[in-house]
Symmetry: none
Subunit: 400 residues, 2 copies
């Protein structure tokens, strides 16, 4: 029987010692009998998602964990957001993550999410009518979140954000980030598009109705994270197995899509998600499952909520224990998000690998500190796939 | 409040098990309550200063620890010695570390340090009159130690030492180390300079008086460690914080100077040095403090003296404990200098990082072996600054 693998990436799970939790991390404070049992049965370690001290984003970390070197393929979040929202993107396209925002008549940002507007499809439809010289434009949205793609000759991702990343200040013009003709050309195009988009949105019926109802209009598109769409070797070609991804966030789905993996929208409920994972694993050999909620709790500076999320994840893992008897489960965090900081930090993350014939170690708990004395030692995100392929007996011998 | 960092590099601190110390290393044998308390409160590990097994010099190791890849910026010790002695050096200059030495009429070396001559400034002044075609020459000295700088077009550091590194043998002519025109040109220039310098020194009044008093004359300049002055990005630009360095040795001061750091001559007495460190840290965010004495004891094959030095360092650390409550202290050795070998070896060195929110581990002693089971695992010298910047909350996120 061919063994399969589930790579469970708990987003932002890792943390630092928290005073309110008695100097424990949320993962140490949570009751996690299933994760601990997997740690006991398996081999553990710590990993630098990208490199020691580097504060990885979820995107760069997931790329590394899937074996795609972010230093080679990553130039910005835009392409992954666009692919994750279902836009057609091609290698060489330049893409941005955008927000529908509210601005006043002086272009001062009043609300970076336009009151978290839910339905922006009519707006996207209107914006798609905008024409730019020599450039094809694609747009897609999911509520206030939007992605913008430019396709054409002579484009560059080396342009600054129009999003000022704050309210009460004016939107910024895009500026070239280097002296290249391509960067200047792209910045000019983005500025032209932004002005035209503002006019279209200002005049849009939907915004008129929003204002009548006392809601902030979605009258500006703030762009950030320009990136060039990379050419990723497909996951199946690279590893010789069918890969799928269960996720909730566009950026993770986008990475999986660009790697040619099947993308499945995650169930909301944790136990249902475990069943969903087992179903997907019926039809493919490899599943990347991203669980977003611990990261969100940490971004909100809430260790208590993070502990609750971790306990829910542990219950979900309980449903997957049987799978690990004949297959491999890898559990890790894609980066550390300390509740004290509320953003990503560069500390290591705990890793465990459970499954047949792994060299189990003395570690019997899944946590940042317990795993530091595990049998894997200190590895990197880019090491995960080679180690897993080897266990799956899908590696080639290097030499004789 | 902005957190600050003290990077305490104990030169040559790490050692191997010593029979006379009952199989303990000097660091294990010494009583170090303060370092142990920091280890207990902090996170520990072991580090390869450059790479596993590589016998790092103090220069290559300090470069790596400060985040400057020695493989890219280091070609020889000369530039760092020259900068450390206060000479003006510019990127592209070729520099040597020299010794004032005594030679006989056949140019056989009698004393590589000319009786450890103390005042060589009159000699340097005379040597500065030497003219070489198309090359500007700079000289500086500190007793028998001297630095020589050539500035001009078409120079190379790929030339052999004129120092035979032994007495009873003739001085060596500089030879090109590759077939390049630049190396041949530079070797010729150095040989011309060495001959002219010999004539100037032989005739110098100061040497005549030395010989009358029965002292060996300083009548030859032995050159070694040719290197090209690198262009180092300034520390403050690279890390966004003001950095200073407290040291006694020219080579460490030279590295700090080339990185644009403030350089402070260390107090002799250990407790005074701790106070000096705290004073310097009032005006800057980062302090590199090099403590040289443990390395000297090891070079002299004296484990007993090394133990004493370590206990003095520990007393000094005692004065710094309060600083670590709200700031970060990193303690490590720049390389292993076993008393049995009397020179640098390639073993790992212990590291500890203490300060707010570090993931403390179970290690409660600061030693080569205790730290090997610490939470940092095995890292490299080049990892220190990224890890520290992350803790200081001075890192940028890589990705989204």
């Amino acid at each position: 029987m061919e063994r399969k693998a589930l790579l469970l990436v708990c987003d932002g799970l890792a943390d630092r010692p928290v005073r309110e939790l008695g100097g424990r991390t949320p993962l140490e404070a949570a009751s996690t009998p299933n994760l601990d049992a997997l740690a006991q049965a398996g081999i553990t370690g710590i990993a630098d998602p990208v490199a020691p001290g580097v504060r990885a984003g979820s995107d760069t970390s997931h790329l590394a964990i899937l074996g795609y070197d972010p230093r080679r393929v990553y130039t910005g979040r835009g392409p992954f957001e666009a692919a994750g929202m279902g836009l057609r993107v091609e290698p060489g396209d330049v893409a941005w993550r955008c927000n529908f925002a509210s601005v006043d008549s002086n272009l001062v940002v009043l609300d970076r999410r336009a009151g978290r507007i839910a339905d922006t499809l009519p707006l996207v439809k209107a914006l798609q009518e905008i024409e730019l010289p020599e450039v094809e434009v694609e747009l897609g949205s999911l509520g206030y979140r939007c992605a913008l793609v430019f396709r054409g000759e002579g484009l560059s991702h080396r342009v600054s954000d129009t999003d000022p990343h704050a309210t009460g200040v004016k939107v910024k013009p895009a500026e070239p980030l280097d002296g290249s003709r391509e960067a200047m050309h792209t910045a000019r195009l983005l500025n032209t598009f932004s002005e035209k988009a503002h006019r279209v949105l200002e005049a849009h019926e939907l915004n008129r109705r929003r204002q009548e109802a006392g809601n902030p209009p979605a009258n500006y598109l703030l762009a950030r994270g320009a990136g060039i769409v990379p050419e990723l070797e497909s996951f199946s070609q690279r590893y010789g197995m069918m890969g799928a991804c269960i996720a909730t966030t566009a950026i993770i789905k986008g990475i999986a899509r660009l790697a040619g993996m099947e993308v499945v929208e995650a169930e909301r409920e944790y136990i249902a998600r475990a069943r969903q994972a087992l179903q997907v694993l019926e039809r493919c050999e490899f599943l990347l499952m991203n669980i977003k909620e611990a990261d969100e709790a940490a971004h909100d500076h809430s260790p208590e909520r993070k502990v609750e999320v971790i306990e829910s994840i542990d219950a979900m893992v309980g449903e997957l224990m049987q799978f690990a008897e004949d297959n491999y489960i890898v559990v890790l965090s894609d980066h550390t998000t300390p509740c004290s900081v509320g953003d990503h930090c560069g500390d290591t993350v705990p890793v465990l690998i459970a499954g047949p014939e792994v060299r189990s170690d003395a570690v019997a708990a899944f946590s940042e500190r317990a795993c530091a004395s595990g049998g894997l030692g200190r590895i990197r995100g880019m090491d995960i796939m080679p180690i897993l392929l080897d266990l799956l007996n899908r590696s080639e011998k290097y030499g004789a």
